[in-house]
Amino acid sequence: MTTRAPRRSIRARRARSAVMVALTVVAALLATLPLVLILGLLLKQGASSLNWAFFTAMPKPVGESGGGMANALAGTLMLIGIASAIGLPVGIGAGMYLAEHRGGRLASVVRFLSDVLNGLPSIVVGIFAWQFLVRPVRHFSALAGGIALAVMMIPLVARATEEMIRLVPNSLREAALALGYPRWRTSLTVVLRTALPGIVTGALVAVARIAGETAPLLFTAFGNQFWSTSLTQPISALPLQIFSYAISPYEEWHQLAWAGALVLLALVLVISLIARFVTRSRFGHGHD
């Protein structure tokens, strides 16, 4: 720029600038195009094969039309429940530690490793859970699937909790301590409570993220054609069912896969939207 710019006329430079600005607009349009295409087709294909039976009926064998994914829906909810029961307390606890030991050496290591864990391929988490939880007991289980999802959830929740607690003004903490509150009560009833809406948002984002995961469930929850709510039995899940129907050669199953995909996406989007509207941070930017 330094050597060439002066030689060009201002007109050419302005034109070039306008073209490049226009190209960024084109990039924005191109980037949103796949979203529009996918959502449009999902609505069209999914809605036409979505009916009440989808939510209430069990899968039918090949050749029989109809049938639904009641077991997969229940399975997904149950897996989310198991993952949250483990992932939320651990994640929030770790996040509180990170927020309260900002400069600490252990905190920096944990923060860094939690980002690393967050970036690991979900299939690797899946084979880890298989090796650790399925192989020793020799059978697939809902519990193993839920734990695999929890492993993916913990770093997300921890980092979100940390960010939210950092937004709580230090004066609030100091006021509580000055009134004679012990640290643990200050942390739990003053700081955590103030940051709660933000933490709920973080938790919901994490739930939305794991709700659609398939790879960690392939060798843990495994899938199940029957109704099951047992922790120790294989269990079906919406993403697993969509996968096996999509790669099957049967037209009826393809239709069910579209319906399943629409329901799964709706579930994920509703959770994300709730997360967005639960709170905007109360304090803007923290001043501690």
């Binding site: 960024t24 084109v26 970036g119 299939i123 084979i127 090796q131 913990i154 640290r183 999509a246 799964l264």
Partner: protein, 312 residues
């Protein structure tokens, strides 16, 4: 956290501190446990095939010989293809959002792009099987091969089946775009205003300001975003498994079916018949784990460096 208070730490404080520390420690412990479990399970295959595991293309479950070269090759090629397509787009979007978009448009467009990251992988795969792959087979591949006469080059030769490296690269491009663009947007916003104002005051056009003053300042952060996207692409499983064609072969043509490390595991793991097959799949997982670990660490370090400089 002073541990020596006037009357010593109350019991409640000690319990609180112990619990949160234990939860925080669970993250490094999980990571170590994960690495050990995968490495131990992969050991028999790595010991049996040594370096040949990485370089051999022979993957024969019946005879018990396993070489992961096609999967490693496929993972790298599909991911690089995805980055090649997604990076310019993502940087364009980020520049548009951080510099040019009118304020009322900023939020909605950013939301739409972020939404791409919310779509589950298996839904991308479904769309890939029934829309993208047929579209490639019937329109894009004939166009590239016949109209543009690229069919004679090694990259676009061979029959157009549909499921291919090209399909995998394209679907990965859509999937990693939101990650690259959101990191890029963040680092662009961390560039100080003075940097922009100085360029404009010197008479730069808007683009010259971006190109000469903003992007160089943010470059290592943008690079971090791209590498973060690479990490995502390398480990992406379901969508790729559904469109890449799943064949243990190395082909220079993007039209040919291939395999990635993640999709080999997804496809063969539950059907693995003998211990060596299982161990070989675990070894593929271990290689994938090692590659993504390195890539992620580099990415985080780059982003962290820019954000720190922005704060200072």
């Amino acid at each position: 956290m002073a541990s020596t208070q006037l009357h010593g730490a109350p019991v409640g404080d000690r319990i609180y501190r112990f619990t949160t520390t234990a939860f925080a420690l669970s993250i490094p412990l999980l990571l170590v446990l994960l690495a050990i479990e995968v490495a131990v399970a992969a050991w028999p295959a790595l010991k049996a095939f040594h370096l040949g595991f990485l370089t051999s293309s022979e993957w024969d479950a019946v005879n018990g010989t396993f070489g992961a070269a096609p999967a490693i090759y496929g993972t790298i090629v599909s991911s690089l293809l995805a980055l090649l397509i997604a990076t310019p787009l993502a940087i364009g979007v980020a520049i548009f959002l951080s510099e040019f978009a009118p304020p009322w448009l900023r939020q909605p467009v950013a939301f739409l792009v972020d939404l791409l990251a919310a779509i589950p992988s298996v839904v991308y795969g479904l769309w890939g099987i029934f829309v993208l792959v047929p579209f490639l087979r019937e329109h894009v591949m004939p166009f590239l091969a016949d109209r543009l006469h690229l069919g004679d080059t090694p990259f676009f030769s061979g029959p157009a089946y549909g499921p291919s490296m090209l399909a995998a690269g394209l679907i990965l491009a859509i999937m990693v775009l939101p990650y690259i663009s959101s990191v890029t947007r963040e680092v662009l916003m961390a560039v100080p205003r003075s940097q922009r104002e100085a360029a404009l005051a010197l008479g730069a056009t808007r683009w010259e300001m971006i190109w000469g003053a903003v992007l160089p300042y943010a470059s290592s952060g943008v690079m971090g975003g791209v590498i973060l996207g690479l990490g995502r692409a390398l480990g992406e499983t379901m969508a790729v498994t559904m469109v890449i064609g799943n064949r243990h072969e190395i082909s220079s043509s993007l039209f040919a079916p291939g395999y990635t490390m993640a999709s080999v595991i997804a496809n063969e793991f539950s059907e693995a018949t003998n211990d060596m097959h299982l161990s070989a799949l675990m070894a593929v997982g271990a290689v994938l784990l090692a590659i993504t670990l390195v890539v992620n660490i580099i990415a985080r370090w780059l982003v962290w460096r820019v954000e720190r400089r922005g704060q200072a």
